[in-house]
Symmetry: C3
Subunit: 364 residues, 3 copies
């Protein structure tokens, strides 16, 4: 019996496989966009860019979240240019002033009403599915998608005790990584590299500790132990605040790590939560957004130190991106051939299977 | 009946359609190069770059304008590197000193005369058709092209009263626009966007005023009214000098706008003339050159203010380029589909038809 | 009879022909990497990049030179990032610490020994052929290659009197040239351009002097005369030191120039040796490394002036790169067609034949 092997090199370098990934994965699956509480007022919006697709994610007057393609139905102009902002009741095209409600309906189209055969109801902004889950917004550009709750059901039980919807974001950092998006996920999915790449992390959390509870399918992960009692993953090794209120005692000494296919990485600490979203730019370039969430009590407590967690993971993130980039450079060589996974890399083999299954799906 | 619709997205993003446009349009049609009076002395030249083709446009010793490919017949070296300059009677290759007359004849080829089978007359610089019309130089890289005068005949009657050959250039500005060249033409072909994009222009010239007189074929356009009597399109709203000498009274309150397929935009004001030439770089990038022409009397009159016109249109140009770029970004989305034109956009529908007809022509 | 002509334009611009050149020439033939004496200690290495392939060229503990692909057999990570350096007995992957001997054997693979079906001997670093010749290292990524000594045999007799292995490098300069690698070789292969491009060189060495002794096959070249008795090719025209010890009197007034297919240019002066290696980046971009070698006596002699040679050729190199770039720009035009070679360019016609023969070889 041969061990599971890494994917062939073309999966990390081919522009045509990258184009298939957009069509069959990123434009069809649920992707995590951001925290819902970034949109607090009616008209608040942010842009989600998935390849060439730009989508306006907004909160409408009734408080509902919506996703509308950022493309005017008249001449195709991008409606919103800023990555986030606030709209006033209407979305107006900056070119010829076609005007849409926050629900996408076309409500004004200068000089069109005299055009024979034209009817406003035929030209709403194209919409996409958008749902919130545990305080996060998920977007789906496909048609007839699986309900989001079903997709995330495997994670629900292990996650609800972290009371995610009540946490508040303290920091958001964007990184440009010159590596394929899959290498970022695969890097996240094992700690075999921790002693080599992250000596500080390996000290705080033994790299072979813990166990995985989700070992196949679109959500994969488990927990690792925190070495020091009452500690956490921070630059100082001390917790940066009190544990998340209501979190069971058993979770005080653990960090849970889950990858949620395709683009979310969720890291649950006793005292805070970190998540990454991945935004593929091309086969060898990924934009990564990382955000740190804390209980409001921690952010309001002058004795707490959220920076301690942010500094720790920002350093760790940069160590990871550098080795991912070196991984990308090596895989690009025609001399690369798939290599064997160890048992510490079982989640990677599981992720590769899920990925191939999704990629192999019939094209639209 | 459905209204006319914008072109499908691939026409603005596909590298292969862009390559066809070069072959079937820019390398086959008459394209406006520049003003003839940029070449005043024998040997004066400028380079015209159409895609990968570089052409030397020059004035020879007899005062004739000529177009010669900027490619040595020996080893293929580019002969002239500077965008414009003056040649002394000969064009000499900077590599091995093959030397050509200003008519393209090979007059010197070191060490070639002993080569069996070599004859100088077999290796002239390749030439292209070049003709002047109303003070402008037009270049045609194709074979067996329609006579230039026939091509421009529809415009001749409405234009001769502007005495274009006698005007002098006061300014030339080059812009880099991150949009397909067709979006620049289409933007020029309607003023429906003026109230939104150019509030100052819309005040000086009501956007629904005037009428079009050329509504199908390769030359399209008409006039719009100037709101203020004796005014013009300038930053101050005042004419920047006396009307063009001899211009009929009826034209003193109008601006004429014509697009000349494929790459020229000609804007005739009572007191000055502006023209744009478009130079496609790739499907999403166009170099645009804008030049302002005045009667010599205006340029010599200390009380006149040519800057007033230049400032106005430079600002307006930049507003246009920005919205063209936003238009390009939106059209690049797979969510874009053709949208309906209003009647104010009838010239765009006509231009699209002409474009498709030219593009569809049999390949060489 | 028609004279020999230059190659069609696609050979200098087509990405697919460039990809074939990598596969059929640079990944199959012997290419010169560098001087062997850059690797003096056990563990010294340098990287050779041939297209996407990165190869570690090193000296092992027994003094043997080896070439190992810079790709970990585990997850494909690039093992060495710095262009040169020193390894300590082992090559360790920076990602998960797989460890290899300097002979490429896998000697450590954490957590792999428990994996069923895994055996270390199945995962050595991939190796390539590496041989030294006259003090130079040559690399061959192909299989079943011709012995290096056979390939270089035509040059052996004319070169051994320069005692190349004993020379020492005084300077190494890297250049980025925006031209196809073949144009750099072709430029080197004639001095017809010298009076135009290098007036200083043409004064020191009459461009029609000398004779070629290797006129077909993979090694091409001959000698030219030095005009001034006891002089050399230097900025001052004076020799920069004593002649290379033991060099026959007859060679004191000559410079020998040889191109060694595909990527080496070797220039032998009475008092020093210069060589170039060419590293294709893409169809229109080549990295060129130039190095100057002197007898140790010259480098140790305070009255000698090695800088005189370096300055001369650095200036000459830059003149060549500029005209090669202008050659590339012209050839990219669809108006370019092959032009005739003169008899002074007979080596270029011979080189083109050899090139086409190699390129036409059956694909792997």
């Amino acid at each position: 019996m041969t061990p599971a092997h890494t994917l062939p090199g073309e999966y990390f370098t081919s522009p045509s496989i990258f184009a298939q990934e957009l069509r069959r994965i990123f434009w069809r699956d649920w992707v995590c966009v951001d925290r819902a509480d970034r949109l607090t007022q009616a008209g608040d919006y942010l842009l989600a860019d998935l390849g060439e697709q730009s989508v306006i994610v907004l909160r409408d007057g009734s408080g509902q979240y919506r996703a509308l393609h950022n493309v005017c139905r008249h001449r195709g102009t991008r409606l919103c240019s800023e990555p986030h902002g606030r709209l006033r009741e209407r979305i107006q095209c900056p070119y010829h002033a076609w005007t849409y409600g926050l629900d996408g309906r076309l409500v004004g189209a200068p000089h069109m009403d005299t055009v024979q055969g034209f009817a406003r109801q035929d030209y709403p902004l194209r919409s996409a599915a958008l749902q919130s889950w545990e305080g996060f917004l998920f977007l789906n550009l496909g048609e007839g998608s699986e309900p989001l709750d079903d997709a995330l059901a495997p994670l629900q039980s292990s996650i609800s005790r972290f009371r995610l919807p009540g946490l508040r974001s303290a920091r958001r950092i964007e990184y440009d990584v010159q590596a394929n998006w899959k290498l970022v996920v695969l890097n996240y999915s094992e700690c075999l590299h921790c002693p080599v790449i992250h000596p500080q992390l390996a000290k705080l959390s033994p790299y072979q500790s813990g166990a995985n509870d989700l070992t196949e399918g679109p959500i994969l992960g488990g927990y690792m132990d925190i070495a020091r009692e009452g500690g956490s993953l921070t630059a100082s090794g001390r917790a940066c605040g009190a544990p998340i209120p209501g979190l069971p005692e058993a979770d005080h000494g653990r960090v849970y790590y889950y990858s949620i296919f395709p683009n979310m990485l969720l890291s649950l600490h006793p005292d805070y939560v970190m998540f990454h979203t991945l935004w593929p730019v091309n086969a060898a370039h990924t934009r990564v957004v990382c955000e740190w969430l804390f209980p409001p009590q921690t952010l309001d407590d002058p004795a707490a130190n959220p920076e301690d967690a942010i500094e720790f993971w920002d350093t760790t993130n940069r160590q990871d991106w550098r080795i991912c980039e070196q991984n990308q450079a090596g895989i690009a060589s025609p001399a690369y051939t798939p290599g064997p996974y160890s048992e510490n890399e079982s989640l990677l083999a599981a992720w590769d299977s899920e990925y191939l299954r999704k990629l192999g799906g019939a094209d639209r």
